[in-house]
């Protein structure tokens, strides 16, 4: 470190700072509590004990000082006292002082202040009450203490999904199911316009007749067929077009469609609102600083950890993170040093491996397609071998999807090692590939289903869909979604019970090489999150065809919470590669948004393009499900109708699009301008800091050159300032200087008089 005359060293060589620096307002605003001298502390404790009425000179001094600080800090509005960084005793004195001041204000201002305070209290208590209502508060608290905030974010994400599904179910229930249920008791007339003559409207009943063997009930329960088919569970049961209540006509078909749009929209808004905070922070930071060293050192330790094991694990994970970061710096250097030849080689390898990945994905999708077609044909042709094989045929697409989702992440994590990316990018890229795989497999399943449904023996289908095989195709799609959900749940439970528990037992009791290599189960957050996002995507797609699916998903996630919690506490150790809380929140909600986007696609295609079945469901009589909306709009009164038609016309759409684009460009330009200003201000800060040090250096040099005029300096500089304003700081500053005053051989003080010579009051 170069010789710096701004900072002085004492006899022992310890660097101490210049008294001039301590006088600067920016330092004084820190309000450090130092090892004050005995008199100083006595003064403070005596003043803290007095109530507002006393007028000890020290207190008064402190008051004026604080009041001036107030004026300096809060010119117009007063920040609440609790946000000030002051010791409690001073805060209570300030509060008392504020009350005093308040009593001098006009009654209107007094009233306003007291209402503000009451409102703030009410808001605090309401928040406390609401948070006590939150589901699983104690469990999440326990997990946070043991595993930190990364895994905590997974569980609070799970809680969010439970609430979301519950709300979606309530929506569907109150707008679709409730009217049908209360129709008889509210003397409502149900109308259902079905053309019984047409070929398209034949819907053979799938209820089992005759003697039903017990295991067939189980098959029905697991596959959604048989006795479950003609229940509120599936679309086909809602054979209602309109309900005529005494006063109003309730268009159930329209309600069904609008509720679907509403729950998709609601999910979007809720997710965006939840992710807004994390997203804002990401926008402000640069890419490089996102997981920087500072963040790890100063914000790396979870202060919530109370468990000894968790603490040592956190320590080792921080260690690992820091080492990885150092490693990453080294790799960055290596990448920058790469020669041209090496770069070509790396790009070639990456190209080949990406082709391989695409090939693997294509293979998986093809096998899902084949499995779906096989399963559909087996169901339709009613091939019955025996109980287990029948179930397997039913669940074949689910089984293939689960297998693919199990194998591909392992494959991807092996491949990424050869592609030679930086460690952080490796994680993200593998994750992206897994997300893509999981969510697109559902799309492939639906696509293969639809290819079956819209493919007839002759060239064109009479009813727009294959009415011979699929008299009620929506119910069939709903059944597939139901099966996917049930199978997903069964797999999660089975893996926990049959894989994780034995693994723990083996690793703990067996000392063989296999156990050591396998190691204890890690709670891998990304894979777990993908699992539940996958389930949620199925729920979003399936709710249109199976209105009770959200309720089933709510119950499913409810149980998954407890299963995962038990598994976490008993089997797992936290991942060595930790997932940071901040980035995880953003990651979860981003993946969920991708799932939502991917869910909207099939639903909108099926609503708008594919002909709805004419034998069942509320949309009988319309060509496609979407047609309900234009028909309903045309029945509205003229004024409203013309407004809606104007809103949906091309002119409006184009101008709306143009306006949105302009707004977006403006906001982007604004963000760019702000970034520039931030950089300029940062540079200015640097220069100001240097200026300050330079000036202090010069000032100290000037002082040193004229020691005889010190007393003149003292009086003149004191005369320059308002003595009453500076005296409290004189009284405060002894505490700053008792540790320094002994360290200076000469009197290098400018305006500070040591405590015992203070004559100013």
């Amino acid at each position: 470190m170069e010789v710096d005359s701004v900072f002085y060293t004492d006899h022992s060589g310890r660097i101490t700072s210049n008294p001039l620096l301590d006088q600067l307002p920016s330092y004084q605003s820190l309000l450090y509590r130092r090892k004050s001298s005995a008199s100083g502390s006595k003064r403070r404790t005596s003043s803290s004990r007095s109530t507002s009425g006393s007028s000890g000179s020290g207190k008064w001094g402190v008051h004026t000082f604080h009041k001036n600080k107030d004026k300096h800090h809060n010119p117009v509005e007063e920040r609440p006292i609790r946000e000030w960084a002051k010791p409690m005793a001073e805060k209570r004195r300030d509060k008392a002082q504020r009350l005093e001041e308040a009593s001098k204000l006009s009654s209107w201002k007094q009233w306003r202040q007291s209402t503000q305070r009451t409102l703030r209290r009410l808001r605090d208590e309401a928040q406390e009450w609401l948070s006590s209502l939150k589901l699983w508060r104690a469990d999440i608290h326990q997990i946070e203490g043991m595993f930190g905030t990364g895994i905590l974010s997974y569980f609070s994400f799970l809680r969010f999904l439970v609430m979301l599904n519950l709300i979606i179910f309530l929506l569907m229930f109150s707008f679709v199911m409730l009217p049908i249920i209360i129709a008889p008791s509210a003397s409502g007339n149900i109308t259902f316009e079905i053309d019984y003559e047409s070929n398209c409207s034949k819907y053979p009943s799938s209820a089992r007749r005759g003697l039903v063997i017990f295991h067939e009930h189980i098959t029905d329960l697991l596959s959604g067929g048989g006795f479950l088919e003609q229940t509120y569970l599936f679309y086909g049961f809602y054979q209602v077009n309109q309900i005529h209540f005494p006063n109003i006509k309730y268009n159930l078909a329209l309600a069904y469609l609008m509720t679907t749009i509403a729950y998709l929209f609601l999910s979007l808004i809720w997710i965006v609102k939840r992710s807004a905070l994390g997203f804002k922070r990401n926008l402000v930071q640069d890419e490089d600083r996102f997981q920087s060293f500072c963040n790890k050192i100063f914000a790396g330790w979870d202060f919530c950890i109370t468990n000894e094991n968790a603490a040592s694990l956190k320590r080792s994970s921080l260690l690992y993170e820091l080492r990885t970061d150092l490693e990453e710096e080294r790799i960055k250097q290596k990448i920058a040093d790469r020669t041209r030849k090496e770069k070509c080689r790396i790009y070639l390898i990456r190209f080949i491996l990406n082709i391989f990945v695409i090939g693997v994905l294509a293979g998986c999708f093809y096998s899902i397609y084949v499995a779906t077609i096989f399963s559909q044909e087996a169901q339709l042709l009613n091939i019955k071998v025996n109980f287990i094989v029948d179930l397997m045929y039913e669940y074949l697409p689910s089984i293939v999807i689960t297998l693919a989702n199990f194998i591909t992440p392992l494959l991807f994590s092996v491949i990424i090692n050869f592609e030679d990316y930086s460690p952080a990018f490796e994680i993200r890229f593998t994750l992206m590939r897994c997300v893509f795989m999981r969510l697109t497999s559902i799309g492939v399943l639906l696509f293969s289903l639809w290819s079956q449904i819209t493919h007839c023996k002759d060239e064109t289908c009479i009813c727009g869909y294959n009415h011979e095989l699929y008299s009620c195709w929506e119910t069939r799609v709903g059944q597939e979604m139901y099966k996917l959900t049930v199978f997903d749940f069964i797999i999660i439970v089975a893996v926990t019970i049959f894989v994780e528990f034995p693994r723990k037992l083996i690793v703990r009791h067996c000392d063989c090489g296999l156990a050591k290599w396998w190691g204890q189960q890690e709670f891998s957050i990304p894979q777990n999150v993908l699992e539940i996002v996958y389930g949620q995507t199925i729920c979003w797609i399936g709710t249109f065809y199976c209105p009770m699916l959200p309720a089933i998903c709510t119950i499913k996630y409810f149980f998954i919470f407890y299963i995962k919690k038990v598994s976490l506490l008993k089997n797992c150790r936290p991942a060595t590669r930790p997932f940071r809380a901040s980035s995880s929140n953003f990651f979860f909600l981003a993946v969920l948004l991708i799932g939502l986007a991917l869910a909207c696609l099939p639903v909108s295609v099926s609503v708008a393009q594919i002909n709805c079945s004419q034998a069942c469901g509320p949309f009988v009589g319309y060509n496609t499900s979407w047609e309900v909306l234009p028909t309903a709009v045309s029945e509205l009164p003229t004024g409203v109708r013309s407004v809606i038609e104007a809103l949906s016309s091309e002119a409006f759409a184009v101008s709306f699009f143009v306006v949105t684009c302009l707004a977006m460009f403006y906001v982007i330009a604004l963000a760019g301008a702000h970034k520039k200003v931030i950089n300029q201000l940062r540079e200015q800060l640097v220069l100001e800091g240097r200026d300050k040090r330079f000036l202090i250096q010069k000032l100290s040099q000037a002082q040193r050159l004229s020691p005889t005029s010190q007393s003149q300096h003292r009086s003149s500089s004191n005369g320059n300032r308002n003595s009453s304003r500076m005296s409290p700081s004189d009284r405060m500053s002894p505490s700053y200087h008792t540790s320094f005053s002994n360290n200076f051989n000469e009197g290098l003080f400018l305006a500070h008089s040591p405590p015992d010579t203070s004559t100013h009051v």
Binding site: I15, S26, K35, E83, K95, F298, F303, L685
Partner: protein, 187 residues
């Protein structure tokens, strides 16, 4: 709620509610915890503001603080003389700043105090090294420690004096995404 308890007067509870981020119930609960730490020292009746302090060694063994590598510094930063003995006011203050509802600026001020081991208004390299060693229980090699400290100062130091002043620290903390969620103790 207010009339059943005899530990505090209503004005005191009022004052506490305004000066901290806790509700009345939580303040009473905190008093219970404070009393548990040293039942023979801490009186149950606080209406006349007794002047008792619980020593550092007892506070640092609280379950919330036991596993924290900075527990000594935390308690010292909130104590009046820097010696770590907390009165009830300071005890409540500490948990109020560390609660969920405290704003970032307030937490940043106290975080700076906590990490400033030699109490000189700057986070110099020795402070950083001590912080790092506490965090990792000295398992990093000295070269690694030096590298990390150099990188940290490089990232955060704005005015180029090779140490972090409070302005540098605050600026850096405002961009640290994890700070608010990790600098928080639940009690």
């Amino acid at each position: 709620m207010g009339n059943k308890q005899t530990i505090f007067t209503d004005e005191q509870l009022d004052a506490y509610q305004d000066c901290t981020f806790f509700t009345r119930k939580e303040i009473l609960r905190l008093h219970g915890r404070y009393h548990e730490l040293a039942p023979h020292l801490v009186p149950m009746d606080y209406t006349n503001e007794p002047d008792c302090k619980v020593p550092l060694s007892l506070i640092v063994n609280m379950p919330e603080l036991k596993e924290n590598p900075f527990r000594n510094r935390i308690v010292e930063s909130f104590s009046e003389g820097g010696d770590g003995n907390l009165s009830f006011n300071e005890f409540v203050d500490m948990f109020s700043v560390l609660s969920e509802m405290a704003p970032r600026e307030l937490k940043a001020i106290y975080a700076f105090k906590i990490y400033d081991f030699n109490v000189d208004n700057f986070l110099c390299k020795e402070d950083l090294e001590k912080t790092l060693n506490r965090l990792t229980k000295e398992e990093l090699t000295p070269e690694e420690v030096e590298l990390v400290c150099d990188k940290t100062i490089e990232e955060a130091d704005l005015d180029g004096d090779n140490k972090l002043s409070f302005a540098d620290f605050e600026n850096m903390i405002s961009r640290a995404p994890d700070f608010l969620s990790t600098f928080h103790i639940r009690i």
